[in-house]
Each structure stands twice: as structure tokens, then as C-alpha cells.
Assembly symmetry: C2
Homo-oligomer: 452 residues x 2
């Protein structure tokens, strides 16, 4: 990468330019640095400086910075411009980006902007806005090449030269019938080598993949990932093509979904970032900790049931967290395998239920190994064979439970369309804690005379 | 999606075709179903059936199935063919896919194949094979369009028509100087509208992004993600272009890296799949459980130190898992935020160290809230103000430690180039368990007279 990306140096230069009010140097900055990097600096600038800097740029440059900016900065930037100015800036942006931006604005401002736009633009934007932000319609790009199947190659080339500069992809041209329904694609490579009078319909290739605009963006991501697609046409109920989702769009979606999964598994709201402020972080984390506290008390209540046993054999207090902790670890192993497979759309409750038998086997085997090790160590500490036997047996049982729960829980949640990344981990540890304490201390109570 | 994807139906049909030995129907199957779906069925077929099915297909069809197959199936398929047959099949595959496949083969077979190939092909393949599988050179595609800057638009168009059918992208043409060094790109859109005699050099756009072939694939993914690129040229030390990485390639890389992160965090080897066999799963999971057992004993040893205190106030045994569990939860929250930010290349130890202050603040605040709640609940169970105070204080201290460790540990590991996803979670829970038990039971021992 040859772009300069030093944040500090760029900040320095931008501040200097603002002090000098030098329009030419502003443009130099814009040419030397990528919009993404400039935006990182602009994010941390005060309103007056930001405004001053932006006002030295062309609408096209502002559009570029706006497209690449995070939500907060986008909104701050729009506030400096009148409706008319914004519409000009928007004319350099993709419809998908403009729609995202409109979605962030207050209702009044959005309405004003849509009213003053060209009718065709506001129609497209309102169509995009009508879909959920995380649906295929919400992520799609509306800049694509679509041509009627009745054209000849020569006519098509003329159209392509005219439209191509504003489209996202040119390699594939989507071919539609008279009702805008997708009938297939034509590869630009074929158009380039075909004779001018060839009818486009002779070059049509089947393109059997599509997605409905109201389907979830994750469905689009899974199709593109599984079949290694470059793009996916987005259609409405009548099969009319509305837009396309490209593999670049999906990179964004995947990054988002994956971070959300990791955060959800740890009980953090998906909106928290590493640089979120103190109160956002509290709002993101505290509620989950309260839920966890509730489940911790449930496990603690199980221990309380056995207080008299513990008071007679205190060694149990030191050994019991080993059983619950190891159960949690084993359960998490099963859970993580299932969660990553669900995310790739590879597993389903109905089809893969029998695999639970493998998890039971693993719980039995790993539990026996770990239980044996733990039993041996405990024996050399307390010289009591029965205590060792209890941890051995409890470890096996708890790991079997851990395997079953870790395996089935995410599949069950997924089956009932509950996000397994959010809900499974906490249920899992609650189970392994409660059962772990219960089995271990229960066995100890039964064998109490042998332990004292 | 209109492709038939029913596994059972497809399996049924393929078996029937094999029974009947019907070549025409085999081709119909190939046209009706996507190679990815056919491969899923072939994976579960016996060698004799698989061979029979493959032998009814053209080399081009076999190449398509091979490109889309998982490693195991690829190797099984190659075993049915002679060196000469394989070279013909390879001619329909991309170099990157052939290189991956060669990488899976035994040394002798690989050498044979490389020897019998055209020199130009084997040179390209050996170049790709010389790079690590997870480096930019290992993922890149060598099918791209590159032209000398001295050509005219007319000459370029002729070349494009000739080469385009075999290239991965045609939208951008990479322009090189006489030493194959990348000087920029030309957009095919501009070539289409320019006059034939225009020199290509007039249309060159700056393309400042590139990656060295020996850099990690994650670096490529981060550049493509951050700057929303369609592709990234891969160059050698002399800036000669060797290949390109497209956004589709990166989808594969990201899926892989993300699954690895989630699995690593839970102590599962990255090679385990949901349908791995029993012994692979044991190999993947048991070593990690043994390490966990070791750390669990360390925490248990801390509890043992306080056995006499616990024997006098058994309520402590029931309350202590609450302190350690909540510490673990809070630490995981901080950890997951930092891990996702590191994966996106957004955080660094040196730059973001000061944010640890926020984590300390959060530990203090969330700890106080959760500690207060826990204290109140315990008060109504045991009616002992001091016990409530102890859990309140221990909760605050343990959550502060959890925040510091959960925040700093992954940054430290990343700084020393150790994968933070593998190593941080276990260190974190070890810390929150050991400190949690120590603080809680230590405070209880100090205040023992007030608790009895």
C-alpha cells in the first residue's frame, strides 16, 4: 500500500491547511490520501474546522468523503449543507449509499430531500428504504446494467458505453423480458467478440441464482459464499430485477455478522465499538451481567442445598469448581463447532440430530480422561479414593450433559429462529454449572460416610 | 435460487444413472445441478460408484466438479486419472485451484504432473506453490489481464478479446512497464468509449493499493475490507505483478479466519468440522481440556488455602462461584470487543493503551452495580451485613481485574504476534478465577469474626 496513512501527519496537514485557508492544498490532500483515511481524521475534528475543510472541496469530493464515512460523521457532514446542495452531492453517490444516509436522517429532512429530487431518483430511493436495513433489498446496489433480450449486440454495445460509467459491475449484463423479469445474463466478454448483428438472446447464459429483496442479508451472504458467486441479482415477488448484491457488499455483511456473533456470544451489544464512550459501554454490557448474575444465583442455590455436606468435607469446596469449569469448557467446544456450522448454513436440527451421539461419546471419553487425571491429582492431595471416584464420575456425567447441551441448544434456537449466538452460551454455562454442582455434591452426599 | 438442491433426490438420481450407465442423463444432471451440490453427494459415494460416474463426464465437467470439491474428494477424484488425463482436466481449471490441488498430493505425483505439463504452466504453478498457503501469493488468482502501457486502445481491444475469456476479471486491466512492474490500471469502460488510436497511457488511473506475495492473507483481507476494493494486485519485491486477489477470494479467507477465531476462543482446533469423525474430534479437543484442567487446579489450590475459613462459614462456598463467574463474564465482554477490533486491524497496544482506563471505570461501575445486587440478595438469605459487604467489594475488585486483563491481554498477545483468539480466553478465566477466589476468600478470612 502506497497511500500515506499516518493519522498524526494527516491531522497536522489538514489543520495547517485550514489555518492557511488554502484551497489548492486541500485538493492535494484529497488526491494523496484515500477518503477512508481522511475520514478518520475528520471524525476527530471540531464542527467549525470540519465545515471549513469541507467548504474548500467540490461536491464530488464531498460525496466521496461522505460515502466512506461512518454514520456519525455522515450526519455531521450533511448538517452543513442545504437541501439543494445535498442533492447535488448525492448525484455523485450510489443510490445504496444515499439510501443509507437518508435512513439516518430525521423524517422532515428526509422528506424535504426526497421531494426536491428528480422523481426517478426519489422512487428508487424510496424503494430501497422500504426494505429492512439488514435485508437483501437494504444492501443491494441499484447501479447495474440491464438490457432487453430483443436488442442486437451492436445496439447493446451502444447502450453499454452510455450506461457503463455509472454501474457497479460491467462484466455481466442482466437480460430482462418486457416485464423487467430476469431471464439470464450475458457476459461482456461474449458481446466483445460477437458480430454486431447477433441478437443478444443468442448469448444468454442461464443464471439460476437470485434472492428476494425481503430475504435476510445472511441468506445472500451464504449463497455467495457457498457457490462462490461474484454477484447475486435481487428480485421482487414478480421476478423483476431490482438490484444486485456484489461480493464486496457481502464482505461488509460478513464482517458485521461475524463481529456480531463474537460479541453476542460474550454478551455485548452489537453497537458497542472499542472506542464507544463510557455510557454506551455500560448500556451495552450491564444488562447482560444482570442476567448472568441471576443464573449465577441459581447455581449458587444448588451449592447451598449441600452446605451441610460441604461443612463436613471442605475439600469438596475446592474441588467442585473443577467439575463445573471443565463442563463449561467442553460444552463450549461443542457449541463453537455448531455455531460456526450454523453460520455457514451447513447444519440443521432435523438433519444433524443423530450427531448428538458423537457428542455423547466425546463427553464419555474426554470426561473419563479428564476425570481420571483430576482423580489422580486429588488422590495425592487428600488420599481418599472415594473423593477421586466422585470427581471421576461427576466429570463424565457433566461432560456428557455439556456435549448434549452445547450441541443441541444452538440447533434448537436456530430451528425456532432465535439467534443461537446470543442465547446459547449463557444457557450452556447455566446448565453445566447447575448440573455440575448437583452431580458432584449429590454423589458426595450419598457417599458421605466414606469421605469423612 | 432455482437450482435443485435436495441432497436425497440427487443421490437417488445419480445412483439410478450409475445403475443404467446412461451418459446422456449424467450430462443432464450436470446441467441441472450446481457442481457444489453434486460434490456434496459425490463425497458420500463409494469409490467404485464415484469412478463410474466420473468416467461418464467430459474433462471439462470433471474439472468443474474438482474445482468445487473439498480437499478429501479432490484427492479421491485425482486417483482415478493418469498423469496425462489429469493434465487435460487441469487445463480447464484456474492455476490457483490446480496449485491448491498439487499442494495436497504426494511429492512424486506432483513432480510427475509438473514435468509433463507445458513449461509455462508448470512455472506459474511452481511460483504459486512457493508461497505459504495462507499468504497473499497462496490465495491469488493468476488469470488477469495485464497490458503494456505503450499499446493503443485499438491494439488493447484486440488483445482483450483474445485473453478475456480466461481471465477472472475484465473490468480493470493492469498496466505494466517493460519490466512487468505495475504502473496503474485502465478501466475497461474507458477503453470501450475511447477512440482506437488513443494511447493506453492516456487512460491510466492510479491504483495505489497492492500487497506483496509473501504477506499474510489477513493483511489482504483487511485492505480489501477497509478500502472496499474489488481486487488487490499481488506483486513481488520488484513490484512485478504476479496475480490478483479478488473480493470473492477474500470472502473465503474471511469465513475461514472468522471460524478459526470462534473455534480458537473455545479451544477447538481449526481443522475440526461438525462432521469430523470421533477420533479427529478427540484430537482437536482433548489437549485443550487438559490445559484447562491444569488452570482449574490452580484456581482450586487457591480455594484450598482457605479451607479452614470455609469450614467455619460454609455460605462462602455457595457465594464464591458468583464472584469468579461474574468476573469471567465481564472479562469476556472486554475481550470480545478487543478481539473483533484487532481482527479488523483497528486497535494496537501502543495507540490504544489509554482506553484501559475506561475498562477500569467500567469494572468499577458494573462491579458496584452487580456487587450491590448480589449483596442485597445474599443479605436476605443469610442476614449478615459483612458477608454482603465482602461480595460487594470482591465483585468490584474482580471486575476491575477482569476489565484490565480482558482488554490488555489480547493487545499484548497481538503485539508479540501470538494469536490472541487462541491464548487470551484461557488466561483471562484463569486470572478471574484465581483473583476472584483469592479476593473473596481473603476478605472473608480477614473479617472472619464478623461472619461467624
Amino acid at each position: 500500500m502506497e497511500y500515506e496513512t499516518s493519522y498524526d501527519e494527516l491531522m497536522e496537514r489538514i489543520k495547517e491547511i485550514i489555518r492557511a485557508g488554502d484551497v489548492t492544498k486541500t485538493r492535494t490532500i484529497y488526491e494523496e490520501y484515500h477518503a477512508v483515511d481522511i475520514d478518520e481524521v475528520l471524525e476527530d475534528m471540531e464542527a467549525s474546522e470540519l465545515q471549513y475543510f469541507l467548504f474548500m472541496l467540490d461536491p464530488e469530493m464531498v460525496a466521496d468523503l461522505m460515502e466512506n464515512a461512518e454514520d456519525d460523521l455522515q450526519i455531521r457532514m450533511t448538517n452543513f449543507y442545504s437541501t439543494k446542495e445535498l442533492i447535488e452531492i448525492f448525484s455523485y453517490m450510489s443510490n445504496a449509499d444515499v439510501a443509507d444516509l437518508l435512513g439516518l436522517m430525521g423524517t422532515k429532512r428526509r422528506k424535504d430531500l426526497l421531494n426536491y429530487m428528480k422523481k426517478s431518483d426519489s422512487n428508487t430511493l424510496q424503494m430501497i428504504l422500504s426494505y429492512d436495513e439488514e435485508s437483501a433489498g437494504g444492501v443491494m446496489t441499484t447501479e447495474f446494467l440491464s438490457l432487453k433480450q430483443t436488442l442486437s449486440v451492436g445496439e447493446a454495445l451502444l447502450k453499454i458505453k452510455e450506461i457503463a460509467p455509472t454501474t457497479e459491475i460491467i462484466e455481466s449484463i442482466f437480460i430482462t423480458d418486457n416485464l423487467h423479469r430476469l431471464v439470464g445474463i450475458v457476459d461482456l466478454r461474449d458481446i466483445l467478440v460477437a458480430a454486431g448483428f447477433t441478437p443478444l438472446s443468442d448469448l444468454i447464459q442461464d443464471h439460476p441464482f437470485f434472492i428476494y429483496a425481503d430475504q435476510d442479508q445472511e441468506d445472500a451472504a451464504n449463497l455467495i459464499y457457498k457457490y462462490d458467486l461474484k454477484y447475486l441479482p435481487v428480485v421482487n415477488k414478480n421476478m423483476a430485477i431490482l438490484g444486485i448484491i456484489t461480493s464486496e457488499d457481502i464482505i461488509e455483511v460478513m464482517e458485521q455478522e461475524h463481529s456480531e456473533d463474537i460479541l453476542a456470544m460474550s454478551g455485548v451489544s452489537k453497537d458497542e465499538e472499542y472506542d464507544s464512550n463510557f455510557f454506551e459501554s455500560i448500556k451495552s454490557r450491564l444488562p447482560w451481567l444482570v442476567i448472568n448474575l441471576f443464573t449465577a444465583f441459581m447455581a449458587s442455590a444448588v451449592v447451598s442445598m449441600f452446605e451441610s455436606t460441604i461443612s463436613q468435607v471442605v475439600a469438596l469446596a475446592a474441588a467442585m469448581p473443577i467439575v463445573t469449569g471443565m463442563g463449561g469448557n467442553a460444552g463450549n467446544q461443542a457449541l463453537s463447532i455448531v455455531l460456526t456450522s450454523i453460520a455457514r448454513d451447513e447444519m440443521e436440527l432435523k438433519e444433524d440430530f443423530p450427531l448428538v451421539l458423537k457428542e455423547i461419546g466425546l463427553g464419555l471419553f474426554d470426561g473419563a480422561m479428564i476425570g481420571l487425571l483430576a482423580g489422580i491429582v486429588l488422590y495425592f492431595k487428600y488420599y481418599n479414593f472415594f473423593l477421586s471416584f466422585i470427581i471421576f464420575a461427576a466429570m463424565i456425567l457433566n461432560m456428557i450433559i455439556a456435549g448434549i447441551v452445547g450441541f443441541l441448544l444452538p440447533l434448537l434456537f436456530d430451528h425456532f429462529e432465535i439467534d443461537p449466538a446470543i442465547s446459547s452460551p449463557i444457557f450452556l454455562t447455566t446448565c453445566t454449572d447447575i448440573f455440575g454442582f448437583f452431580i458432584f455434591l449429590g454423589l458426595a452426599t450419598t457417599l458421605l460416610p466414606k469421605l469423612i
